[in-house]
Symmetry: C2
Subunit: 400 residues, 2 copies
């Protein structure tokens, strides 16, 4: 019998307790041992809930109990999660977490402590909810140099963009509906400004290249400036606008970015709609693979946390190798990355635009007064130089 | 330094040697040890090829060399692969294979020997080429009861069906082009009759439910009877015809089948086109996840084999738990599974069809002399009873 503690009895934490109960038999078989939740740490009490007898308010009870061999952290945020997780690892307990802020900021350090103590720090649920991506990256894609990892990593923004594309509604209307359905928070900033996706691509890029990518270094642009006019142009091109997080190696440089991007149906992420997430990985020999599923939600996320608990139980006393050193990976300036750009300017500037950008491809979406066009391939810096001369109504980076 | 042997220097075997050379640094880092190919077993010699000095013609050399700790089997077929693999495991060597026939037939037995000898029998490359699916099933989807696993598991047939749908060509023309491009063999039977996909769904279903599913028990139907008229009807329904392999739990029964199925864009497999494979898994709590990538090809397949070699090296002396007992899983009769069916009969039989099937949904694809319709949900047995009374021009199982 393995005893575990769950820190935080919110959506994911209570989901973990439910998953362990509901799939008890299968989980016991897979882990090779029975798993019992001994403590739940929460500031609240849950009178009437069968878990009430396990609730403790003081982390010391858990930290100092040698019977606890795995700690599940589902509190979120950096403090006090960081201190709690660090102490658990130092005391020889494995930790499984769904906390992307914690992993993005302190992943390398916590992995190093886990390695030293021959325990495990696992975080499958921190990216892509229920989609297996962290373990495949660490343990399946081991024969390849990763050339690119690009994902639709935030379900809320994907829902909003899908809604806008399918129903022609504005950003504000789509956001309101996402909030009514519980897909977006009342303060949606972390989602719509791309901050949530940024933490996730920081984690994936760190794992892909084995070094610390600081999320503060990643150029991050959300979807708030996307309009129905942009969507019309996208449709005219047979394309979709998706909020993509990318970590990419070009030569010896690594670029990372979060931004809305035009993709067409050649990209397997094209048909990842609604609240679903998709993560695309390109290996130098493997080619392209994609992982798709529910990127959030109580049970998918809890299922991913429990798969980590099973792995931790199977590996008691052994550290699972994860290559993520604390050495900082200096990202290349995104302005040096090359691509095509879709640009809209007032129709009066058509000649000027053609003069500046040379051989452009005009896109006519029937928008009065607009000249819409695709630039040749150029760096973002070159684009900005030229765009300064124009009254740009909108610009979208292109993937094709 | 870990020394390995490669059995069979064909497409995949030579790919394995190349991958180990090309990504040597990354692989050494991931495995924690350097990996060297000491022997290559092949009947042929390869004069001028730098591997020539490693070529041996007698398996005894490899079996009896205690320095060899991992054997890669890429010969294909049951004999002598089975004897070689069994002996390697019994002598305490781990085995990594891409051989689906071997795994489908003897997987449970070989896993049991590996477990007893504290070595590993790994077969990521046997299903889905480079797509990580075996390891995720074993190690990531451990918190869930698998309700369904359905895949596009054969790239050749998917290429043919995509070609027919996109270009309106006949099966024969599409097959000929697939052969010219090297996607289909001169004798394409194993692909187009569904036998290849059948081995793969037998493996996946065995792993999903932890028991032996014999491929001979799986109802298998290929794509040879699919015509351009069927494709026209599919398009009229906004659907695609895909050759799907399915293992599915309904109540306490497990159904498995290979057959062409009509799917619509709600199914994430809808946009898996050309030679790509996609594998969809539904967990009771996780919901739906999908894995997508190149299902065949020298380097993707070799990359998957090498990821197994890395895993074998990381786990020297420890068996990775894989739940697949040799106890036979008695599949339920596919005739008891319920769904809707798309049916075409001569227009003269419209009244009779309506009388037999009740509330049908007519599909008009503008085919003269045809009455095309979708039946209500019924078992395959019920469908067959009624269909006997009609001159059925074609029938397609539906997923929506």
């Amino acid at each position: 019998m393995i005893k575990i503690a769950v820190l935080g009895y919110g959506t994911v934490g209570s989901g973990v307790v439910e998953v362990l109960g509901k799939n008890h038999e299968k989980i016991t078989q897979r882990a090779g041992r029975e798993i019992e939740v001994k403590y739940i740490l929460d500031l609240r009490d849950f009178p009437g809930d069968p878990v009430q007898e396990k609730v403790v308010h003081d982390y010391r009870v858990i930290a100092e109990d040698p019977e606890i061999s795995v700690v599940v952290e589902t509190m979120g945020g950096i403090n006090p999660a960081y201190e709690f997780v660090k102490e658990a690892l130092e005391r020889g307990k494995s930790v499984c977490t769904s906390n992307k802020e914690l992993v993005a900021k302190h992943g390398a350090e916590l992995l190093a402590i886990a390695k030293e103590k021959k325990v495990n720090f696992l975080f499958e649920a921190s990216v892509g909810g229920g989609i297996p991506i962290i373990r495949p990256l660490n343990q399946s894609l081991t024969a390849d140099e990763i050339q690119e990892i690009t994902g639709i990593l935030n379900g809320t923004t994907n829902y909003i963009l899908t809604k806008m594309a399918k129903e022609g509604v504005s950003f504000a209307t789509a956001l309101k509906e996402a909030q009514e359905k519980g897909y977006a928070e009342r303060n949606p900033e972390a989602d719509v400004e791309g901050f949530d996706a940024c933490r996730k691509i920081a984690i994936l890029t760190s794992l892909a290249y084995g070094m610390q990518v600081d999320h503060e270094d990643i150029y991050t642009e959300g979807i708030t400036r996307i309009t129905d006019v942009d969507i019309s142009y996208a449709k005219e091109m047979g394309a979709a606008i998706k909020l993509l997080g990318t970590g990419k190696k070009v030569g010896h440089k690594v670029y990372a970015m979060i931004s809305p991007v035009l993709i067409n149906s050649d990209n397997p992420l094209f048909s990842v709609n609604d609240v679903f997430n998709g993560i695309f990985v390109r290996g130098n020999l493997l080619g392209d693979v994609m992982f798709y599923g529910a990127g959030a939600g109580k049970y998918p996320t809890a299922s991913a946390v429990v798969s980590d608990v099973v792995d931790a139980v199977k590996h008691l006393g052994t550290n699972i190798m994860t290559i993520w050193s604390s050495e900082k990976l200096e990202l290349a300036d995104y302005k040096d990355a090359s691509r095509r750009f879709f640009v809209r300017v007032p129709v009066a500037q058509e000649d000027k635009a053609r003069e500046l950008f040379g051989r452009v491809q005009e896109i006519d979406a029937g928008i009065l007064g607009d000249f819409g066009f695709i630039t040749p391939v150029m760096t973002e810096r070159e684009y900005e130089e030229k765009a300064k001369e124009l009254e740009v109504r909108s610009m979208l980076r292109m993937d094709f």
